[in-house]
């Protein structure tokens, strides 16, 4: 059940970024991690992929306009 929700059509792909990837993303976007949109650690998807507070998740959305859009969310407690 826990993993099932990841297949739902409303749920885009979430992946946890490694430390080096996260640093690169933050640097490229020229922001502090706290300025990123947030996701709660008890969010069903964050729980399913076992993300911990402080992690940055890469979210690959299906977009009506761009086809594919990559965005990031910071995991909050």
């Amino acid at each position: 059940m826990k993993k099932d929700i990841l297949k739902h059509k409303l749920v885009p792909d979430h992946t946890i970024l490694s430390d080096t990837e996260a640093k690169k993303v933050v640097k490229n976007l020229k922001v502090h991690p706290e300025q990123l949109p947030k996701i709660k650690a008890d969010d069903p998807v964050a729980k399913a992929i076992e993300a911990k507070p402080g992690d940055i998740l890469q979210i690959t959305r299906k977009s009506h306009t761009a086809g594919k859009f990559v965005t990031y969310r910071l995991v909050l407690e």
């Binding site: 059940m1 099932d4 929700i5 297949k7 739902h8 059509k9 409303l10 749920v11 885009p12 979430h14 949109p37 947030k38 996701i39 709660k40 969010d43 069903p44 998807v45 964050a46 979210i59 959305r61 977009s63 009506h64 306009t65 761009a66 086809g67 594919k68 859009f69 969310r73 909050l76």
Partner: protein, 384 residues
């Protein structure tokens, strides 16, 4: 022409196109049989057009989004302010629904679910009907043949209609177990049941009996919590269930239910079961289909911006006093919106500082606003 080739050309031109644009270029190149040189030229032109079409730095996208959603909203008010029935179910549409979405109401007025089934079951009417009866609310009254309140003997006798039980694909033993659990003084003889009220005060005996009669009739024998009526519909080759009321978490756990397409129109429930990102998608989908149903088209980008703002904090929050507008950092901005006195008083008690970084604050004090050309400043480098 293949996509990779276009990607290569785009990279050579030192630019970045969205995936969809690259796909479209590839399709166009294929259609017109472009050679390498022509493709080069095409990409060059598209690069220019794409840059021109992009939002400029410092553009007030939020205001534009608000106006773009708000203007068609005024037309909605005139056309519909009531409910329109879709099939046998009542679903809130039009402006009331749009308000519900942006207000992020906890309890929406007409929650509804669309339940679909896995491939092996989707054409199986019998299976779908059985699931529908497990999901939909069925009370004891629905399966009665006879119902008698006997005031002489002070008891209640009912007869369960076995045909109805079979028609609704219910399990007889389960029903009996539910009845035995709910009522203590019950006498069961096959499908004939008789109930006796617990009478504490003989003066109210008749009232007690009547109350018991209502209670017996309303006993729920099947159904998922929060779901009422269900409608079974054939959509193309497959069967689907639409419900009044919604409980996504419980329905997704049921066997045979399609776990990717089954959804609800309750955004908070989507957030709870599938997370914020799903809630963002649900907001976009609901808002857009509400507008489209009314024959209005709003560019998705505006709705996407609204949905992004509503979900940026990791939870769904409303637009307006209790959400985005009420959480602005600046006291002056908040005070100029709603509840002026409350915000000014609280800010003075707490000693809040206003850094004058927003638009409203700067208009109030008569400075250039940080928008468009106003958003650039000059910084001088110390000469050392």
């Amino acid at each position: 022409m293949d996509i990779e080739k276009v990607e290569k050309v785009v990279k050579k031109k030192r630019t970045k196109f969205p995936e969809k644009l690259i796909q479209e270029i590839a399709e166009a190149a294929e259609r017109h049989n472009l050679d390498d040189k022509e493709l080069d030229e095409l990409v060059k032109e598209i690069k220019k057009a794409n840059q021109r079409a992009g939002v400029e730095n410092g553009e007030a996208v939020g205001t534009v989004a608000a106006q773009s959603v708000g203007e068609p909203g005024t037309q909605m008010t005139m056309r519909t302010f009531h409910y329109a029935g879709v099939a046998e179910l009542n679903v809130t549409l039009g402006l009331p629904r749009l308000i519900e979405i942006v207000d992020a109401r906890k309890k929406i007025s007409t929650p509804t679910m669309g339940i679909y089934f896995d491939e092996e079951y989707s054409a199986d009417e019998e299976f779908v009907r059985r699931i529908a009866n497990r999901i939909g609310k069925i009370i004891l009254n629905d399966i009665l043949k006879d119902f008698n309140v006997n005031y002489a003997n002070m008891n209640l006798s009912i007869e369960i209609d076995e045909e109805k039980v079979a028609d609704k694909r219910l399990d007889y033993d389960e029903i009996i177990a539910k009845i035995e659990k709910a009522f203590k003084k019950v006498d069961i003889d096959k499908n004939l049941l008789s109930f006796e009220p617990t009478i504490s005060d003989p003066k109210h005996a008749i009232r007690e009996l009547r109350l018991l009669a209502d209670k017996v009739r309303d006993l729920q024998i099947s159904g998922v919590k929060n779901i009422g009526k269900v409608v079974i519909r054939k959509e193309g080759p497959e069967w689907a269930i639409h419900t009044e009321g919604s409980n996504l978490g419980a329905v997704l756990k049921m066997e045979g239910v399609n776990k990717t397409r089954t959804s609800t129109n309750d955004i908070h429930e989507v957030e709870k079961v599938l997370g914020v990102e799903a809630a963002r998608n649900a907001i976009i989908h609901e808002a857009q289909s509400t507008m489209e149903e009314q024959g209005l088209t709003v560019d998705v980008r505006h709705i996407m911006l609204v949905a992004d703002m509503m979900t940026a904090d990791g939870k769904v929050k409303s637009i307006g006093r209790h959400g985005i507008s009420g959480e602005k950092a600046s006291v002056l901005a908040r005070a100029s919106f709603e509840e002026t006195g409350k915000h000014l008083l609280r800010a003075s008690i707490r000693g809040e500082v206003d850094h004058l970084t927003g638009i409203i604050e700067n208009i109030i004090i008569g400075q250039p606003i940080p928008l468009g050309t106003g958003s650039v400043g000059v910084v001088m480098k110390d000469k050392k």
